[in-house]
């Protein structure tokens, strides 16, 4: 007979199951992105997943550990990374981003459970700094022939400057594509984009961030399966809309309205899938609200007053870094806690 210490039952889903379900939740977003931007995005996703898997496997082997790719977490990082990149991002740069994502963002700290920051965002932050031109080159959505032809920059030769996109886009039967995301249009030119378009995703932008509605629905799936902390998402979105609401109320001519704020850029993708990264977020009941609020607030401040048009990535990385501190100051009040002497 076997001897084991109590409890003798356990029914909660295992790490693999949770991670696999997050991947399932990301698949519709990937599919929509491929539908919208064509085979370039498909190649981007494939390169990212393959590079991430190989990197994790290689590092596990080098450090003499059993490969941990079976827990599916690396696939999440890979998909999230690809979804935050522009559709026409050169594939070799995506491979670099994926390598940094897994090697520096995750394995350097000790693998799953030990990473301080969201690995996908570490990878993206690296290429944002390394390839500032490519990461802000946007292509139009729903181009005819997008399933037959790569966006030329995708296939750029490594270490050479990718061909400018303007000529290629000019050759397409489109009118008035500005080559900017709705956020950039709003920030630099004060041209608003219709919120309905932002909701369903008929805009330019990073591969997976365009449809706020789809991301939200995929998030609900995870919340229903109790595999995502809805409090973080709620806190990010509430504070982001409240902060931008205050500025909108002060000057409607410069600042965007809260609905635009919620639906544009990477806020939804960040709030649903990246801020909720379990490893890098606090565990205490108050901590998760503070953590989410920090992301929402910093995002809006960067968007409105920073040099960049989008601030979700740095907001989440900053909040990830503050997470241990937030946890430390928000330890729960235990049952039956007695007041320290002298406070009564």
């Amino acid at each position: 007979m076997e001897l084991r210490a109590s409890p003798h039952l356990r029914v909660s889903p295992s790490v693999e199951v949770i991670m696999r379900n997050v991947v399932y939740a990301l698949l519709p977003i990937c599919a929509f992105s491929v539908y919208q931007f064509g085979i370039s995005v498909f190649a981007l996703l494939a390169v990212s997943v393959i590079t991430c898997l190989l990197t994790e496997n290689l590092i596990c082997r080098l450090s003499g550990k059993t490969p941990t790719t079976g827990d599916w977490s690396v696939v999440i990082s890979a998909l999230l990374l690809a979804l935050t990149l522009p559709p026409g991002f050169p594939l070799w740069m995506a491979a670099v981003a994926s390598f940094v994502c897994v090697a520096v963002g995750k394995m350097l700290f000790g693998g799953l459970g030990f990473n301080v920051m969201n690995p996908a965002l570490v990878g993206r932050a690296f290429v944002q700094a390394a390839f500032p031109a490519s990461i802000t080159s946007w292509t139009p959505y729903m181009l005819p022939g997008r399933f037959a032809e790569f966006i030329p920059t995708s296939l750029a030769t490594p270490f050479l400057r990718p061909a400018p996109l303007a000529e290629w886009i000019a050759g397409k039967p489109l009118d008035g594509f500005s080559g900017a995301t709705p956020l950039a249009l709003m920030k630099f030119d004060h041209v608003p984009t219709d919120s309905i378009q932002l909701l369903i995703g008929t805009t330019a932008g990073s591969a997976g961030e365009t449809s706020a509605l789809l991301i939200f629905i995929c998030g609900i799936y995870l919340v229903v399966r109790k595999m995502m902390d809805w409090r973080i998402t709620a806190s990010v979105l509430l504070v982001a809309s409240a902060t931008s609401g205050i500025f909108y109320w002060m000057d409607q001519s410069i600042y965007p309205d809260p609905l635009f704020t919620l639906c544009s850029g990477g806020l939804m993708l960040g709030a649903v899938f990246m801020a909720t990264d379990m490893v890098a977020s606090p565990v205490t009941p108050w901590g998760v609200w503070i953590y989410g609020a920090l992301i929402g607030f910093v995002t809006i401040i960067i968007r409105l007053f920073g040099g960049l048009s989008e601030g979700v990535m740095y907001a989440i990385l900053l909040a990830n870094a503050s997470s241990p501190l937030i946890s430390a100051v928000t330890q729960p009040r235990i049952y039956g806690a007695t007041k320290p002497k002298g406070t009564e």
């Binding site: 109590s6 409890p7 003798h8 029914v11 909660s12 459970g113 565990v283 946890s327 049952y335 039956g336």
Partner: protein, 456 residues
Amino acid sequence: MTTAYKRLIDPRMWFMGTFSHGIHPAENKQYTADKAIQRFPFAPELILPLSQHAGAPSVPIVRPGQEVVRGEPIAEAAGFMSVPLHAPATGVIKKIDLMPTAKGPRTLSIILEVYPGDSQEMRFYQTRNVDTMTPQEITQAVQDAGLVGLGGAAFPTHVKLSPPKEHTVETVLINGCECEPFLTTDYRVMLEQTDDLIEGTRIFMKALGAKKAIIGTEDNKLAAVEAIRAKLPADGSITVKAVKTKYPQGAEKMLAKSLLNLEIPSGGYPSSVGLAVFNVSSTAEIGALLPVGGGVIERVVTITGPGVEKPGNYIVAIGTPLRFILDQLGLKGGSQHLILGGPMMGSAISSLDVPITKGCGGVLVLTEEDTRGETSRGVHPCISCGKCVEACPMHLNPCNMGKLAYKHRYAEIAESFHLNDCFECGCCSYVCPSSIPLVQYFRIAKSANREKAKAS
């Protein structure tokens, strides 16, 4: 029908008191909930460990070869934190020797050979009038009866009847929650020994000078609530109340919160907030024992699980070896995991020679199939999902505590993370998706800290 579904359609269950956090394991009470209590035959040999309770082991007062009568004291209490032991059957003392127990190490036990032909009538008793007894006499009588908490902790009951002088007990809580899955001992006792339960409650109230008593149970046992309500005394001093079905509702700290919204302070006793908490089986036992004298010689045990051929609720003589019980009831389906107590807090045992003791309310036999999910899972690093923080009924932070325990920083867990408030309910381990043995770590941490305190 699950309790969650019943809660939707039964208005009686709509506004139940409860505590925050906790978990909802599958109840699995259907195996034995509707089976009336039956008497179990005597085993040819009973094994009676001298340490069946929390506190000092009893001191034997019999010699090998001596004949004893059913109900006769065979070991006496070693001081206040101890209780005597009574012969569960008429027979002869075979030897006093080290025998295996569920706790692990072999402990000194009295082995009693039962006379097979004996009628096993109770011949050792003295009737007394409980109404004329003083509180001190009752407390003494409770100790003489060898009563300990039959819910599982086996804490001597008379100690609870003697709260510190500065505390007054106003309310007696009778705990019939039985939140452990599978077990139905307390439920059957509430249904079938209701008169004894009420009598025991009155005895406890008298001993403590308490003005009221609440019998609390979970709302998956509403039949018991009705059965008790029909027999409550007219003066309204005793009430019965259901609380939400949730694990670990049966922990006294949780029950105090659910019924009265009181928190027993950290490091304090229930009497710090004017409470005394007793298990229903203990209460019914004293209600039956005190008027006639005699001691605890048998108890109701749920023998259940997918691995038992004939599950049921049985009155089993203390000291009956498991081998005898399982031979009688039959095993099936590759049963391989034997647990004394419930699946959440019970202890797995490796030897069938382990006997039923006073604190053991259940024997659970799981099959290979039931434990496969458990054994096939690998342990992953903590992913800080926070599920344990959401589950801990004490509102501790098992996530941080687990990380510290992994690094053997035991003293730090006690100082900064309230390790000693953990009562080892196992909710954290139950919910952990990484299968980290959290509560097991905390047990190790506690004993490491104790050893260290002893050494210094």
